[in-house]
């Protein structure tokens, strides 16, 4: 309720000053003068419209547009209408840095947000630091909280992968088994899984018996399945990119009806993929981490339905326009939540223009409690201003009848770890 009040306040003021004109112009004039007077807040969005991240990019854009519409209908941010400028980065780090330049210097954006792929974040963040433009990533990478980036880069809309992974270990060890073989892509996203899950499962008295890193150029996986030790109780898999369907299909052919380990995967493998796709029957009964359950859980909060309606997603996590068009549901909420985080910080800091950018980042660092609501449909979060990272609860779902059914939700505390950096002590 509080946010609604603050965002309506300027429009009330505007109505008072514009009373005379409003009386003549009629009811339509009540809203319009506000937009005409205030220069819009321009937000740059670094979008993966092409390249390997294109599936995600499409949904990130839809989600951000939906949040934008909702925010503008409710009076904008700090009384100013909001615009998003999208620029495609081709999911490429070099182009990413150029896009930061373009959004800042050419489009004159107030800040930049929306990046998902870690290598694009790594390539772009130095430039954002040089330009002194707030750069809010939606990436779930551990790059922000590890201290590798800078004072201008924050990740307020999604829990990082280290926290996600660590919070899974107790449940996996308690319910599936303690001897784990890991399949992960041989790049940064995979290394986070390799390093942090191995540590977390050992803390639970478990053990990773084999780590199999698949090179990024691989398109066929069967031959690597032979490297799975026989003692394996749990097969932990996290693959991304177009090869995942093949991975699962081949895994199914390999084990077939014979004895097989329990499967635990990260939904990243199946983002934008229908779990009822032919060939994925093998996943029936297996478990997945989900940040935001794709299939609307029975106990979903009040904001869930509104969020789905706004973005245009049905209760199965597919587009309302096309049931075959499955969302990247466990990631895209971050674009939505980041936009509301921006709104909160802009309004708290009284941000008026690029000269206030430092003030804006300080206001962001001062935010800690992010309660559940339409601003955060994935769930409540705690923002750590020192590490620039948000922490939220995670979910585990089981595939039943080709559908993901949520079976467990972690607490926020299960995903916490010691700070590795204090960005607030760094200079701007």
């Amino acid at each position: 309720m509080k946010t609604t009040l603050t965002s309506f306040a300027p429009s009330r003021r505007a109505v008072l000053t514009g009373m005379g004109a409003g009386l003549i112009a009629g009811s339509a004039g009540l809203v319009r003068p506000v937009w005409a007077q205030a220069a819009p807040l321009k937000l740059g969005f670094q979008l993966h419209a092409t390249g390997i991240g294109a599936s995600y990019g499409r949904w990130y854009q839809r989600t951000a547009d939906a949040a934008l519409k909702k925010i503008n209908e409710a009076g904008g941010i700090g009384g100013r209408p909001v615009e998003i400028v999208y620029e495609d980065d081709g999911t490429d780090p070099a182009r990413g840095a150029e896009v930061v330049d373009k959004l800042n210097s050419q489009h004159g954006c107030d800040l930049i947000f929306g990046t998902l792929f870690s290598h694009v974040v790594m390539g772009s963040a130095p430039r954002a630091g040089e330009l002194k433009v707030p750069y809010l990533v939606c990436s779930e990478g551990y790059h922000v909280a590890s201290g590798a980036l800078n004072r201008w880069t924050l990740q307020p809309g999604i829990t990082d992968v280290r926290s996600q992974i660590s919070s899974m270990a107790p449940w996996v060890a308690g319910n599936l088994g303690k001897k784990v073989t890991m399949f992960f892509p041989d790049y940064a996203f995979g290394y986070d899984h390799r390093d942090f899950f191995t540590k977390a499962i050992e803390a639970q008295g478990g053990q990773v018996v084999a780590q199999i890193a698949i090179p990024p150029t691989e398109t066929s996986y069967t031959r690597y399945f032979a490297q799975i030790p026989a003692e394996t109780e749990v097969l932990y898999h996290v693959m991304v990119g177009p090869g995942v369907l093949t991975f699962v299909k081949e895994l199914g052919e390999f084990y077939g009806s014979g004895a097989k380990p329990q499967l635990f995967g990260f939904i990243d493998s199946l983002e934008a993929v229908d779990t009822a796709t032919p060939g994925l029957e093998f996943l029936e009964g297996s478990h997945f981490w989900e940040a935001h359950p794709r299939v609307k859980p029975a106990d979903a909060g009040a904001a869930e339905g509104d969020y789905r309606a706004a973005v245009g997603v049905d209760d199965n996590g597919a587009s309302v326009a096309d049931a075959k068009d499955v969302a990247t549901y466990s990631h895209m909420f971050s674009a939505w939540e980041t936009l509301y985080f921006i709104k909160q910080a802009v309004e708290a800091s009284g941000y008026a223009g690029v000269a206030d950018r430092q003030k804006l980042v300080e206001a962001m660092e001062a935010i800690s409690d992010l309660p559940y609501g339409i601003e955060r449909p994935q769930g409540a979060k705690v923002f750590n201003g020192k590490t620039h990272q948000a922490f939220g609860s995670q979910n585990i779902s089981k595939i039943e009848g080709g559908k993901l059914v949520k079976v467990h939700t972690t607490t926020i505390d299960e995903g916490k770890y010691d700070d590795a950096v204090d960005y607030t002590t760094m200079s701007f």
Partner: protein, 292 residues
């Protein structure tokens, strides 16, 4: 898993990749051999074939086998005709100058990928296999369809060999390969032979795509790696030698599988890549090519 079954699995996997590679590479080898140009868009033709297969299979009602068969019949000619048109409209005007053709086909690659991104979208999508047979061996299970792919690829290659050695079209093509000027002097329409060759090469990539796509999935960036591998196969096999291409595909497919038994996946890739490079360095004319 113990060594024996492990090796068996690696060999079976290697055989499947060799079969697909042989199809892809034979198309490239034809173009290379007859026209002496490098077609960088060969992988994009493969991808286009896969996308069209997805489209055709999705529009044929009934069990998956009909959709897949329809794709197998319809898609390769479509891709072949498209490639022949590209040859006539672009490559011919470049007079098949090698560097210009490389740039033009890079351009074509961008165009085809972007067209697929717009028309097909960024997601990976499956095409159902015509039948779902799983072989359960004592140690592991294996896809029956994959073994079918090996057989089918063998048949297509046999057909190609018959066309090349037993038909007039094949004769004309080989004549053009040996000496373009003399072929022209003997009244061969070299332009049409080139268009036909380029089309046939692309059609072979499309056949490979239709065969392979039920074991993997369609994606608009799927053409890159097959392109690289088929380049290597063609060179190791010796330019324009169909037999060499086939043997090279077998060597590359099988060694890739076997090497991956001993080292971590990425290290295996490094070793396999360096091995292939060294073969080329010390036998630059390929295994079967005549000394230049």
């Amino acid at each position: 898993m113990s060594f024996g079954p492990f090796l068996l699995l690696a060999l079976m996997e290697g055989l499947v990749s060799a079969a697909v590679l042989a199809l892809m590479a034979s198309g490239l080898s034809l173009v290379f051999g007859v026209m002496r140009v490098v077609n960088v868009a060969h992988g994009a033709f493969f991808m286009t074939g896969a996308v069209l297969a997805w489209f055709v299979a999705g529009h044929v009602p009934g069990p998956p086998v009909w959709g897949w068969l329809a794709a197998l019949v319809v898609v390769p000619p479509m891709v072949g005709l498209m490639a022949a048109a590209v040859d006539t409209l672009v490559l011919k005007r470049l007079e098949y100058e090698p560097e210009a053709v490389i740039v033009a086909t890079i351009g074509l690659l961008y165009i085809l990928e972007q067209a697929a991104l717009i028309g097909f979208g960024p997601d990976a999508r499956p095409v159902a296999a015509p039948f779902s047979l799983r072989l359960q061996l004592p140690w592991f299970g294996y896809s029956g369809y994959k073994l079918f792919v090996v057989a089918a690829a063998g048949l297509v290659l046999l057909a190609l060999w018959l066309v090349m050695t037993r038909t007039r079209f094949g004769l004309v093509m080989r004549a053009t390969q040996v000496d373009r000027t003399t072929a022209r002097a003997f009244g061969i329409n070299v332009d049409r032979v080139y268009a036909g060759t380029f089309g046939l090469g692309a059609a072979l990539a499309a056949v490979a795509a239709v065969l392979v796509v039920p074991t993997t999935q369609v994606h608009y960036l799927m053409g890159g790696d097959p392109l690289l591998l088929s380049f290597i196969t063609v060179i190791i096999g010796g330019l324009g030698s169909l037999r060499g291409t086939l043997v090279a595909a077998l060597i590359i497919g099988l060694s890739d599988g076997v090497i991956s038994m001993f080292w971590a996946p990425t290290l295996s890739k490094i070793i396999a890549t360096l091995l292939v490079a060294l073969v080329l360095v010390f036998r630059p004319q390929g295994l079967f090519g005549a000394k230049a």
